[in-house]
């Protein structure tokens, strides 16, 4: 999956699951704040990422992520590892 495909897919499933406008999912926006995540929401975030992108981020992965761009970087790395 290309980076553009990752971004398009991510915007779609995150906006559906967390009921936020796709226009708010901008590369430099903070992922945690934009999605308004509480501790339980991370459980659901893992589920939708696994369903849509095929990998399961760890707690450490989330700690290293601030922006959506950071997440796209992570997704690219995961795809590269399994390629």
């Amino acid at each position: 999956m290309s980076r553009d495909e990752i971004i398009a897919t991510t915007k779609r499933f995150l906006s559906e699951e967390f009921e936020v406008d796709e226009n708010e999912i901008l590369a430099d926006n903070n992922l945690h704040e934009t999605l308004d995540l509480d501790s339980l929401d991370y459980v659901d975030l893992v589920v939708v990422i696994e369903e849509n992108l095929g990998f399961k981020p760890t707690a450490d992965d989330f700690k290293a992520i601030d922006t959506f761009d950071d997440f796209y970087d992570l997704a690219e790395r995961k795809f590269a590892e399994t390629a």
Binding site: D41, V43, D44, V46, V47, K56
Partner: protein
């Protein structure tokens, strides 16, 4: 000092109507909420009849986080509670600042549990279940969801007592308020409607197989009844101290004056006369009234051969043969964990509007029902005081007496 206890709001999410106005219309007209469910046919049910109400769309009312822990019992209960709170003039701001409890009847979450387990069977990874399922799976799902949504700060317990759950929830709420432990409690009952929830019950052969005419299948007290029809939804009642209701200017729909209860201590599914007799008598004693004060009995009668006969005998023994009796389950089917609450709400609507809802499909009495006054058609009647029976598996019995409020 014991306090007077009143009801200040009701809400109904029922197969005979969503909301009080629609339910009232069905009660007046003897309208059935029973359908033939083709999903149950494919699933292997012996009887595919059920009361049916669609799952509500909660998106206009609740956030994703608030909805995610809800399956049918909590979804239905949210809708009925929303209506009850509005009628009682209660909002979240008031509830957050003024201690209010919730005692809600529920006795299964089969649909939610099976859907969760199917996910694990399919993915073999519990971390892919998601965060909401645990709150859907637990039997206290209604309490967990509603107490957090409405910011309730008082007593918070689920009441599981089979088909008497809803009735006991009102009874226990009544006792807590009467004793001064709470000012107001949200009471009620919820019953899931899905093919998983009633399969094992269907397997007992307890359901009517009169499937060619769904609206005629549930026939409480009728000689030709052949079993109950399962159903579901939710009913909520706001139970409150008289002082609190008057202070808030809330509408007073009725006053709870008696709560009788008992356990049969015998067979796990068969009803018995003695348990029902004791429950009825205890309610009268608690209410401190004689039996002739009761203007109407909303019977538990589910349309099973043994259960209805036993209740007819108990009503006859305690209240005699003159008091008008009807079972609304002819229209609704058996709303199980919800029934004890919904039937008090149905009866309150009858009391407010001076009529008795028909015991539909009562065409021929049997040797026991002939001894009591079963009302087969809509009947105009002033009701000042009514009694509502609920009996459940395991031999749990509950009888509530409610009268018109007089200062």
């Amino acid at each position: 000092m014991e306090r007077r206890v009143v009801i200040t709001g009701i809400g109904l999410y029922s197969c005979i109507g969503v909301g009080q106005d629609n339910v009232l219309d069905s009660l007046r007209n003897g309208k059935s909420g029973i359908i033939y469910d083709t999903q149950r046919e494919e699933f292997g049910y012996r009887s595919c009849l059920t009361g049916m109400v669609d799952d509500p769309d909660l998106k206009p009312f609740l956030s994703r986080r608030e909805r995610i822990g809800m399956h049918q019992p909590a979804m239905y209960a949210f809708m009925s509670t929303k209506e009850a709170l509005e009628q009682a003039k209660l909002d979240i701001d008031f509830l957050e600042k003024n201690e209010t409890g919730i005692i809600y009847g529920n006795d299964s979450t089969a649909g939610a549990v099976i859907e969760t387990i199917d996910k694990v069977r399919s993915r073999k990874d519990t971390t892919l279940i998601g965060s909401g399922d645990i709150f859907q799976n637990m039997n206290c799902t209604v309490n967990m969801n509603l107490s957090t949504i409405y910011k309730l700060k008082g007593i918070n317990i689920t009441l599981s007592a089979a088909c008497a759950s809803g009735s006991h929830s009102i009874g226990m709420g009544y006792l807590m308020i009467k004793q001064g432990l709470q000012d107001r409690i949200i009471c009620g009952g919820a019953q899931e409607i899905n093919k998983y929830s009633m399969a094992s019950f269907d397997g007992l052969g307890a359901f009517s197989i009169n499937q060619s005419e769904p609206a005629k299948a549930s026939r409480p007290f009728d000689k030709n009844r052949d079993g109950l029809v399962p159903s579901g939804g939710a009913a909520t009642l706001v139970v409150e101290s008289l002082e609190s209701a008057l202070e808030r200017g809330a509408p007073i729909l009725g006053e709870i004056i008696g709560y009788g209860f008992s356990s049969n201590g015998e067979h796990i599914s068969n009803p018995n006369f003695d348990g029902q007799f004791r429950s009825l008598n205890m309610a009268l004693k608690q209410a401190n009234i004689s039996s002739d004060v009761i203007d109407y009995v909303n019977a538990h009668a589910t349309s099973t051969p043994v259960g209805d006969s036993m209740e007819a005998q108990a009503i006859h023994a305690v209240l005699g043969g003159k008091v008008p009796v009807s079972s609304t389950k002819g229209m609704t089917g058996h709303e199980c964990w919800m029934a004890g609450a919904s039937e008090v709400a149905y009866s309150l609507l009858m009391m407010e509007n001076s009529f008795i809802a028909p015991n539909i499909n009562f065409e021929n009495p049997d040797e026991d029902s002939v001894k009591i006054n079963v009302v087969p058609e809509y009947t105009e009647k002033n009701i000042d005081c009514f009694l509502s029976n609920s009996f459940g598996f395991g031999g749990t019995n509950s009888s509530l007496i409610i009268k018109k409020f007089v200062k």
